[in-house]
Subunit: 465 residues, 2 copies
C-alpha cells in the first residue's frame, strides 16, 4: 500500500515551507515526540516534518503537496491514542490539527455545537458546562484528548451504555480529502438520510479516509437530579463482574459502572498514595443519575449486598468524583510500571464474568499478570500487559492473542474504543473475515487512491490483497 515517494524529503519540505511558512516544524525533539502516542510504543524513525495547521486552508495546502509529491500523511491531534494510529515514521508528514481548537458555535436551542478538531474534550465540556450543557462522549483521557481524535478513533468512555458512543454524537463533518478537496458530510438536523452515511463512516476511520477539520456535534442538557455513587468491594474480579451483570439485569441503567481488579487497584494506590486495594479486593463503582438516581442506587446497593459484596453509597458529588478519579488514574498508574500493551476487547455484558475467567486462565497459562479494568456497564475491558522496552515480547503477543480469541468466542470484538492502529492490525481479519477486509480496503482506495493517508495503519501492509 505504501506508495513510493516521487519527491525527496528536502523538496517536500521546501514545498511545505513555501506554502505554509512557520507552520512547518522540523525541531528534532518535536519530530521525535511524534514517533509515539500514549500506547507507549514508538515508530522506527522520526517523521519528515510536522505541519501545525491553523485553518482548513492549511490542511488543504498540506494535502495538495502530499498528493503531488506522493508523501504519506499522519493526521494527529494530542497524540493520546492507545493503538499507534497517530505514530509517524520516516518520510511522513505529521498533519497536526491541535492548533485548530476553537468552538465555532454553540446552539442552545438546537443542542448542536460546531467545533474544530483540536479542542480538548475536557475544555469543550468546560465551555458547555457554563451553559448547562455537556458533550456525552467521555473517554477516560478526556482532559488530554481532542474531539478530532475522539472522532478518528470512535472513542468510547465511561458513559456509553446510557449516553451513547461517539458515532451517535456526531451529526456532520467537514473533511479534507487526500487531494486537498473538502466535502461536508451529514447535517445539523437530528435526522438526515441523504445518500450513504459518510459521517458515520468517518467516525473511527483512524486517519485512513480524510482529515476531519470541523464537526457538528450533538450536545445535551445537563442531567438534573441527584448523582448517586455506590462504591463496592468484592473478593475478586469475577464476582464483581457477576454483580455488574446482576445490576443491569435488575433493570438499572447506570450512567457509569467501572470495574477494577485487585492488581489495578494496587497500582493506582501506588500512584495516588491511597490505600483502597488489597491483594484480594476488586472494586466496582456505580453511578446513577437523573430523576430515578436514588431509587436506582438503592437497587444497586441491594443487589451488591445480596451477592456478598461490601458497598457504600454517597450522593455527595465531590465524593463521587473522587471515587471515579481512581478509575481515571488507571492509565498513568500503568505507565509507571513499564511499557503497556492495552487490550480493549468488548463483549456482550452478560459475558463479562466469563471474560474475567478467561483472563485469569490466560494469566496462568502464560505466566503473566494482566491488570484489568472494565467499563462493566457496556462489557468493554482493558486488560493491560506490562513489559520493558519498546518492543512487545513474543510471549506477550501470544497471551494477547489468546485473550482476543477468547473475547471473539464470547461474541466480542477486538477493540471497543481504541481502534486498530498498528498494534491490533494482526487480528483485523480474524474478526472481520477476509471478504470484509477486502471491502474496507476498497473503500480506503476510493478515498485515497495513492495510499498516502496514514499508510500501514489498520490494514497490515505486509498482507498484499
Amino acid at each position: 500500500m505504501t506508495p513510493a515517494a516521487v519527491a525527496d524529503g528536502p523538496s517536500v519540505l521546501a514545498a511545505l515551507r513555501d506554502a505554509l511558512g512557520d507552520a512547518v516544524v522540523t525541531d528534532a525533539t518535536r519530530l521525535d515526540a511524534a514517533r509515539a502516542d500514549k500506547s507507549g510504543h514508538r515508530s522506527a524513525a522520526a517523521p519528515l516534518a510536522i505541519v501545525e495547521a491553523r485553518s482548513i486552508e492549511d490542511v488543504q495546502s498540506t494535502m495538495r503537496i502530499a498528493t503531488s509529491t506522493r508523501t504519506p500523511v499522519v493526521t494527529r491531534g494530542a497524540g493520546t491514542g492507545l493503538a499507534g494510529a497517530a505514530m509517524a515514521s520516516a518520510g511522513e508528514i505529521v498533519l497536526s490539527t491541535l492548533a485548530m481548537d476553537r468552538v465555532l458555535e454553540i446552539d442552545e436551542d438546537d443542542l448542536v455545537a460546531v467545533v474544530q478538531p483540536g479542542i480538548l474534550n475536557g475544555a469543550f465540556n468546560d465551555l458547555l458546562g457554563e451553559r448547562g450543557l455537556w458533550f456525552a462522549p467521555d473517554p477516560a483521557s478526556r482532559a488530554i484528548s481532542t474531539i478530532g481524535g475522539n472522532i478518528a478513533t470512535g472513542a468510547g468512555g465511561l458513559l456509553c451504555a446510557k449516553y451513547g458512543v461517539t458515532r451517535d454524537a456526531v451529526l456532520g463533518l467537514t473533511v479534507v480529502l487526500a487531494d486537498g478537496r473538502a466535502i461536508r458530510t451529514g447535517h445539523r438536523s437530528i435526522k438526515g438520510v441523504t445518500g450513504l452515511d459518510l459521517t458515520a463512516l468517518m467516525v473511527g476511520s483512524e486517519g485512513l479516509l480524510g482529515v476531519v477539520v470541523e464537526a457538528v456535534v450533538r450536545v445535551k442538557r445537563r442531567v438534573e437530579g441527584t448523582i448517586a455513587t455506590v462504591a463496592c468491594f468484592f473478593p475478586d474480579a469475577t464476582s464483581a463482574a457477576r454483580a455488574s451483570s446482576a445490576i443491569t439485569a435488575a433493570g438499572v441503567q447506570p450512567a457509569v459502572m467501572e470495574l477494577m481488579d485487585a492488581t489495578s487497584l494496587l497500582a493506582v494506590d501506588a500512584l495516588l498514595g491511597t490505600s483502597m486495594g488489597e491483594s484480594d479486593t476488586a472494586h466496582l463503582v456505580v453511578q446513577t443519575d437523573g430523576p430515578a438516581a436514588a431509587e436506582e442506587a438503592a437497587s444497586v446497593l441491594a443487589t451488591v449486598e445480596s451477592l456478598g459484596g461490601r458497598a457504600e453509597l454517597t450522593t455527595d458529588v465531590a465524593e463521587g468524583e473522587r471515587l471515579l478519579a481512581v478509575r481515571r488514574a488507571m492509565h498513568p498508574a500503568m505507565e509507571r510500571l513499564g511499557t503497556t500493551l492495552i487490550e480493549d476487547v468488548s463483549v456482550p455484558r452478560s459475558a463479562l464474568p466469563a471474560m474475567f475467567a478467561a483472563i485469569a486462565d490466560v494469566e496462568q497459562r502464560f505466566g503473566v499478570t494482566i491488570p484489568t479494568v472494565a467499563h462493566a456497564g457496556d462489557g468493554n475491558l482493558h486488560p493491560n500487559f506490562v513489559f520493558e522496552g519498546d518492543t512487545v515480547p513474543d510471549h506477550i503477543w501470544a497471551a494477547a492473542d489468546a485473550l482476543f480469541t477468547a473475547a471473539l468466542a464470547l461474541g466480542g470484538t477486538l477493540t471497543g474504543e481504541h481502534g486498530i492502529g498498528v498494534l491490533k492490525r494482526r487480528w483485523l481479519a480474524d474478526e472481520l473475515g477476509d471478504d470484509q477486509v477486502d471491502l474496507q480496503r476498497g473503500i480506503k482506495a476510493v478515498f485515497d487512491p495513492l495510499g498516502i493517508l496514514n499508510p500501514g495503519k489498520v490494514f497490515d501492509p505486509l498482507v498484499v490483497r
Copy 2:
C-alpha cells in the same frame, strides 16, 4: 450504471427456478404490485420475477445467478417505502425478504435481539412488549413496514429526538453481497470500532450495497412512569411550530411532538369521520414519558398557554394513543386525495417556524396546497403535494424544488427518514456536492462492481460521472 444483461429473461428465469423452485413467483398481479411502493408512484413496466427468499441461502443463490447473468436485483420488504427505492421495473429480479420474518433471539440481559429482515416493526414490538421491552425506531408505518426496510432507508419516526434514529439501534448485520458471498458487520457488544463502520454505512443504503439478511439490534426496557399527552390547538402551523421550539427551548425533551397543519387535520377528519379540524386550526400533540413526565407535561401546558394556544392534558394511555392515531392516519388520508409526492425535509428544529413560513410562500407562488405534518421535536417535515395520475406534473416538481431549496438554505436536508429512491435523486448533488457524490458512487462500485444492486436508485443514471 445499468449493466447490459448477458442472459435473456427466460434463461434467467430458468436458472432461478432451477435453484429456488417455487420461491420464484411470476404471477402477473404480483409482478405488477412490485412496480409500486407507498409513494403512489409506479415503475415503467413489471419486473421479471419475484424471489420469495426463505433463507440466507436463498438470497445467496439469487445473487449468484444475478451476478452470473448480470441481472439487476431490487431488494424489497413490505413495499411501504415512500421514495421509490423498492419499485422494480423491466428485466429486474425482485428479491423479497418478507418471508424471512423470524425473531431469532431476544436477550433480556444484554438488551439485544437478533432478527430476520422481514419481520414487521409492529410485530417485533408486540413480541418484545410481552417481555417489557421495545425497539425504539418507530416510523409512522410501523404496523406495515419491516425492520429490513427500516434499516435500508434509515427510517425515522416519532421518537427520534429522545430515543434515537435507526442507525443508533443497529449493532451488527449479516449482509449478502452482490456476488452471493455473506459478511458479518459490527458486533453485539455496545461498543466496537474494529475497522471501518460498515454497519452504519449499510443503514440507509437503500439496497445499493448488499442485502441485509439478519440484524443484531439494541432493544430497550419499557419506560416506567406516567405517559402524559398534551393536545394543543393553534390558529396556524407557524404558531404551532413556534410553540414546539419554545417547548424544547424550555428544557423539555418530549418523547413525541407531532404537528399537523389545518389541511392535514381536515383530511384526517374526512378519513376517520372525526371533527377535530377547522380551516384555521393547527394541531400539536406532545407526549412526555419517564420519571419526569408529569412535570414536563405541566411545563408544556404552561408554554402553550403563554403563547395563546389551547391545550388539554391527559395521562390516560388509551386517550393518548387515540390522539397519536390521528397523526398515524395522515398517510392513508393523503392517499385518498390522489397521488402524493411526499417531501421529507428536515431542518434544525429552531428553524421549524421559518420552514413553515417558506411552505406558505411556496403555496402562494405556485398556486398549490401543501398539507404538511412535522415531527416537530426533531425538525422533520412532511409537506405533501397531491395530484392526479402516475406522473408528477412539472409545476409540482418546481414547487418541490423551491421547497427543498428553502430547507437547504435553513441548514436542512433533503430527506430526514424516507431516503432518496428515485423521487429525490434529482436533488442529491445539490445537497452533497459533486465531490461527495463521486465518493459515494465509488463506494457503491466497491460493493457492486457490475452495478446490479438496485440500479438507477439514489444516483441518477442519466448523470454519467
